[in-house]
Structure formats: C-alpha cells, structure tokens
Symmetry: C2
Subunit: 288 residues, 2 copies
C-alpha cells in the first residue's frame, strides 16, 4: 500500500493519529520537501515518528517515482506531504503511476492552507479562485494573478494568494555549466507580495485603468499558520507592504465583499485604522 499522508501545518504533532499509525507500519517513508515546509525540520519529525525519513525533492518525485513505488505492492510505503496531499500541489502523477503499477493507495487527509485560512475570519465559501504569486525577475514580471484577484473582487469574493517557494534552485550560471550547486531556499513574504501588488496597482493607475483594488484594499497576512507562533495580521495593502511577519511560510488574502461578522473577526487582528476605509455596499456588506 502506498499511503499519501498529510502532515498538517504546524509541527510534528499536527499529524493525525491515523497518519501516525500508518507511518509506523511502513518500511519506507518519504517526505516531500519542495512545495511547503513545517516549522520543524526533518530530524524533529524523524524523532517524533520513530522512523528515518527519505527526503523527496522534485527530481525524485518527478523522475524517480519508480524508486518510491518499489515493492509498494507487498510492503507499506508512506509519502508525507506538508498540509494535505491534494492541497495546493497535488500529487496526481504519483497516484497515476501507482495505479498503473497495480499498487493500491490510500490518502490520509489533513489541514492545508486551502482550508485553514478560514481561521482569519473570512468565510471559506466566500473565496474565489486561488492564485499564486511568483518571485519577479528583471525580465519576467507576470501580473495575471492581479487580474484574477480583481475578477474575484468584482464577484464579491476573497482571494487566497499562495506565495512563491524557491527550493533547490540553480543560478543561471550553475545551470548552464551543469553544476549541481543550489541557491539558498527563498520564501516570499507577505511584505514582498504586498509590494508586488502595490507596484501593479501603481502601474495600472498610470495607464488610466479602472482599478479593481487599491493600496487601501483590506488584506490579511498569514505567517506559519497552525504553528504555535502563527501570525495573522489584517491591514490595508499599504500597511502589509511594511509589515514583518517573521519566518516562512507566508500567505496573503485579498478581501472581497465583507459581511459584518467577517469585519468583526478581522478587527481581532487589525492594524490601527486598517478597516477605517470600509464602505457600505448595502445594508449588510462592506468593501474596501
């Protein structure tokens, strides 16, 4: 059996009892290590689970699937994923390979940012399409996520923005020379994400475009969600662009239409004056 086991969001104890029991039965345990991170490292997990973990980077999962699947028809193998195995990044490819090889698989779910984001007080069923923000380079500054956010907002919906993670990236030079030297991992912060959005808003304004959001739009910055030291900070986009929420992982939410109960919840984590600019749309909803 191949187990896909979600680890949840905080530390080692966020695994489910069912997931922990499954790990203990497995002869090999892989830890997917390129789409998310826990606030604790591999060693802490190994100690907690009482098992050695094999780090599975993107190369191993995409090109070394045979190694992961080896003997999984006669023994139990676990593939651990921070959050839920079918969260922001799905592992459909590995599922399909297992099925093709006649290996039964089972999913043990857990919380992921895709549902835990609800703790900020914005209601999950008022979220539209989720977007991803990538690190801009000198020559590549995509803005399509901005248009999706505005489309969600025009329908009254909030947007969860997943922020870029760069793990095991090579510099162009090292890549060209075939040197397997990797850059230090980079995790986009709420501050960086808000700054990117501010730049887009500014550019669109200069082009005379009608703006779907502004520097005063209410946003929520989330850091290390589910961990003991999680931070949830509500502010205008401008405020979040100068907020330091500490170590990774970070996510950002751009609000849409707000119900009074949502506003009350946001108030619990709001910067001074963050909600001051809210305008009543009708008797029971607000927007910024």
């Amino acid at each position: 059996m191949l187990y896909f086991i979600g680890l949840g969001l905080g530390d080692a104890a966020d695994i489910t009892v069912k997931g922990l029991q499954a790990i203990k039965r497995c002869s090999r345990v892989y830890l997917e290590a390129y789409t998310s991170i826990l606030t604790v490292g591999k060693e802490a997990l190994e100690e907690y689970y009482g098992k050695e973990l094999i780090l599975a980077d993107r190369d191993l999962v995409e090109q070394g699937a045979d190694e992961i699947l080896k003997d999984a028809d006669v023994t139990d193998v676990a593939f651990l994923v921070v959050g839920d195995p079918f969260g922001a990044t799905t592992h459909s490819d590995l599922v399909l390979r297992a099925v093709q090889a006649g290996i039964p698989y089972r999913v043990i779910h857990n919380a992921s940012i895709m549902n835990a984001v609800g703790c900020c007080g914005l209601q999950l069923y008022n979220f539209g399409e989720t977007v991803s923000l990538v690190f801009w380079t000198e020559t590549w500054r995509p803005e399509s996520f901005y248009d999706k956010i505005c489309k969600n907002r025009s329908a009254g919906l909030h947007t969860l923005c997943l922020l870029d993670i760069k793990v095991k990236e090579q510099s162009v030079e090292n890549l060209m020379r075939g040197r397997k030297i990797y850059e230090p991992p980079r995790y986009m912060t709420v501050q960086q994400a808000a700054d990117q959005l501010m730049q887009i808003v500014q550019r669109r304004r200069e082009e005379g475009e009608e703006l779907g959001m502004t520097e005063d739009t209410v946003c929520v910055g989330l850091a290390r969600l589910g961990a003991d030291d999680q931070v949830v900070r509500t502010g205008t986009l401008r405020q979040l662009a100068s907020c330091d929420l500490g170590p990774p992982l970070h996510s950002l939410v751009v609000s849409g239409r707000l119900h009074p109960l949502e506003v009350d919840m946001l108030r619990l984590t709001a910067e001074p004056d963050a909600l001051k600019g809210l305008k009543a749309i009708d008797s029971s909803t607000y927007c910024s």
Copy 2:
C-alpha cells in the same frame, strides 16, 4: 483556554495528535453536532478520547454560548467540530464571544471537505466559489446555486457543492404548536442533488436560456470522504442522478475546464462513457 479542534472527516482516529492531547487536558468537551457528521457516533468518540462529550446543537451554540465559555479562563474547554473548525461553517460567533469575555482561544486545524475534495483529482486551485444546495420544498425551490456554478464554469472553474443537512428540524405543525418533536435527520444525497440540477437545466432549456451546463456535464459524486468506505464516482450529471453512493455525507463537484492530468485522475473513478463527451477547448484543456 477554549480549544476549537477539528476532527477531520473519517472516524475517531482522524483527529490530530495535537488535538487529542488537548482534549485529554480539558475539563469539558463539546461536540458540535449540527453541521456535519463523522461515520462513527458520539459513543465511539467518547471511548476513543476517554472523555465524556456534551452534544452541542445549534440552540446551545447560538443561545447557550455562556455555558460553553463558563470558566474557560481558568480551565481548558474543547469545542470539537467535524472537519475543520473554520470549514464550511465557521464558528466566528463563539470566537468573538470568547474574546469579549477575555478567554484565550486556540484553533487546532484538520482536513475538511473544502480541501479534501482535491483527492478526486480536480485541482483545488481550479475551484471557484463553493455553493450550497438546500432541500427544495413545494413552495421554495431556490436556483441561485445553479447560476454560481455556471459562472464558475464560464471562468473554467470547478464548483464544490455542499449538500443540505437537516438535523433537529420540526415539522410546521410541531413548530406551530410549540412541540419539541423533531423529524429524523435528512442528508441530501448526490442523487438528489444531481436530480435538482437536472430539473433546473430542463426548466432553463424550456425557457430558451443559453445553458451553462447540461445533463452531460462531467460531475464527481463524493460520499463519506476520508472514511474507509469512501466512494468517489465520476459521471455525467445524468449518470449521477441515478447513482446510489450509500450512507451520508455526500458532496458533489461540477467540473469546469479540465486539464489532461485531471482527466486522467477522473478516469480512475469514472462510470462507463462518462468522459466520452469531453470537447477539446484548446491544445491542453477540455470541457463538457
């Protein structure tokens, strides 16, 4: 401390280790029992947790919050929610009351249908707004969810449909006479949900409306997600309208634009010919 603890989706062992540890510290443990159900009953949970559970129905949560919060500043109290505490139904009201009363609170997340639905093979970031389907009555047949599904589809997005749960409902007669006699609980099935959608499609067609979905649209029925006997069934809307997926809870997904990997995943659970009508939109996406 007031703990909001998600129980996940399957049975007693789907709680996180952290959640279970918190329960063991608590002097009172409430089980929210009106927005979802596990496949195991209260007694099985009590045995597993080694704690007596107090059932919290809607009346208790909405009107008896003081009872839940009593002494939670000096002792630990847990409020258990199937899925995640901030999943489809949020418990913002209880959070706000706790904060007002100066009681610290903590959330221990878990999987909910809002993220676990990803296991069907449709990618979570391709989902639009979530909708709810309610049981129709003779005089009340709302259709607004249909328009939201079509709006999602026109943007290429999938739609998660949460299906109605009627627990502790009174008949009109019993309500009028003030008799606290309750009807047996009712849980909408995938079959019923698909049938409602078929009726709407048919009515809109007769009115000459341009259709955002049809009886041939590919949908996914989900039953008891996360439990040992979970069922995932992919079919056209018409096929799902005559599928029996067994006991509750059920959910339904209406597909939007499909990527080849999503189609491959759907194939694993597809009824014969379910995916036959897919049309290529461009070189890499399909729709029905």
